[in-house]
Symmetry: C2
Subunit: 288 residues, 2 copies
């Protein structure tokens, strides 16, 4: 197996270098490289790190590790699924590692999950090497579609109770997932009373992305609320999600009882509610 | 100025390498090194990073950056100062960078702050190069004592309403600040109804430290509560604090109104209350 430029051997050890904007680099010592390929969209690597276990790496950026993936995947999934009083039809845009699908399947009202991932190779690699994440993608309730999520919602004739936008950072393949046209189409594919959530980046590194996402959504939806979690392996750590709704409002607190926290590692009913209490600088930034 | 081993020049740029347990390294590009010295206790550097602004670095570990120090300093200070109904006398153990003192001075009931820092050189360097943090240490309400915090509380004849233990990680000079004898003495120097808080590390990297701290405190105090924040520049990101009290209980929520969040950047009354909702794996870990 050839190695990508972001993995190097030094003194007999393998190190993955993750570059943050040229000014901050993370170096992860690896036990081994489980998989590497170039897909038509990106470089895909699955590695085993010493500190955080196995990890999916796209174009040199760590997307998820088995040690802390549950924080991101639970928070982006459970909150909208509990805010909607009875989600049956779910659309996941992105989420190729399968972690969001795994969480959605915990809600017994969910009858179908359409997962639209642009890069089939990501899902195939995760199914093989990260079964902790992707092991549920062949559940009979899941329909996999390997195509562009932006085009999918533009042309889509179906409608959903909940849409979850699990994108990578707003560069490369994911750029259009942060633009108004995309969210306008997301609103269109929602059933009455539908709820959507997207990841809206770190307010420390990408406050303009969060502000822009929040602005777009609050112009399109009657209810828009940002919530947050601490995701250790993402730079900035403090991570936001933004929920927008055609009906139910998490502000009324009624979703607490519907959180399925029996088998979660991060989410509890208390924590889900607490996650809407934003740090002062985020609240101020969004109020501008 | 000579440079420490953890700062190196590469291709004309300065890079600080922070080593986490030999398996994870952070490399920070620096604009410049403002200060470097070897004190009797540790290597002290103050640098200007590209991404997080100026930073205090002790023995190669980034302690605080001007970009995100407010999160840690506000959370370790405002919560105990608001849980106590009327804090007048405050003891700060450690906190040599001055950030905790700055926050404590925001509470008008506070009449005196004794800050006991083992390494006078840390405070002197911060006063010179990090006035954003240390600029308040000569306030007439502050008394600086440069001595061992463990010996100070052991021999102390004074008593306090609030004790804040702002230690570095449980290695080197700070080891004893995580042990039972120290906390027994902290309890002894508290006035009736007194409240203490300590930083209790990241549950992802140091769950045993958190569990041990929580166990010691809950054996010594009638009220013990862990709360948390997202501190981007600390490895693990998700950071805990543990509050122990001889009287007031944050669980009754009465402290909300006393949070002085007029001039904070992270803390709000909502967020302070929300910070006691622990991630499921932390709650489970503490219940064991």
């Amino acid at each position: 197996m050839s190695l990508p430029a972001f993995i190097r051997e030094k003194d007999g050890d393998l190190w993955l270098t993750e570059v943050e904007s040229g000014h901050l680099r993370l170096e992860w010592k690896l036990k081994r490289v489980l998989h590497y390929e170039r897909s038509p969209f990106q470089e895909i690597a699955i590695v085993e790190t010493e500190t955080f276990g196995k990890a999916l790496v796209l174009d040199g950026v760590v997307q998820t590790t088995v040690q802390d993936e549950f924080i991101y995947n639970e928070m982006i999934s459970h909150v909208p699924l509990a805010v909607h009083p009875r989600p049956e039809r779910v659309l996941v845009i992105g989420g190729g590692d399968g972690g969001v699908v795994r969480e959605c399947l915990k809600y017994p009202s969910v009858r179908s999950i359409d997962m639209v991932e642009i890069d089939e190779r990501v899902t195939a690699a995760c199914y093989e090497h990260l079964p902790e994440l992707a092991g549920w993608i062949y559940d009979p309730r899941v329909r996999l579609r390997f195509e562009d999520g932006v085009a999918y919602v533009r042309d889509c004739k179906e409608q959903y109770d909940v849409v979850i936008v699990d994108s990578s950072d707003p560069f490369g393949p994911a750029t259009a997932l942060f633009q108004e046209e995309f969210y306008r189409n997301v609103r269109r594919v929602l059933l009455p009373g539908g709820v959507m959530t997207c990841q809206s980046e770190s307010p420390l590194f990408y406050m303009p992305v969060l502000k822009n996402t929040y602005r777009i959504l609050s112009e399109l939806f009657p209810v828009t609320r940002t919530y947050w979690a601490s995701v250790p392996t993402y730079p900035g750590g403090l991570w936001t999600f933004t929920l927008a709704s055609l009906g139910p409002d998490p502000g009324d607190g009624g979703f607490r009882e519907r959180i399925r926290d029996g088998e979660t590692r991060y989410v509890t009913a208390d924590l889900a509610e607490a996650s809407f209490a934003l740090p002062a600088f985020v609240r101020r930034g969004l109020a501008d």
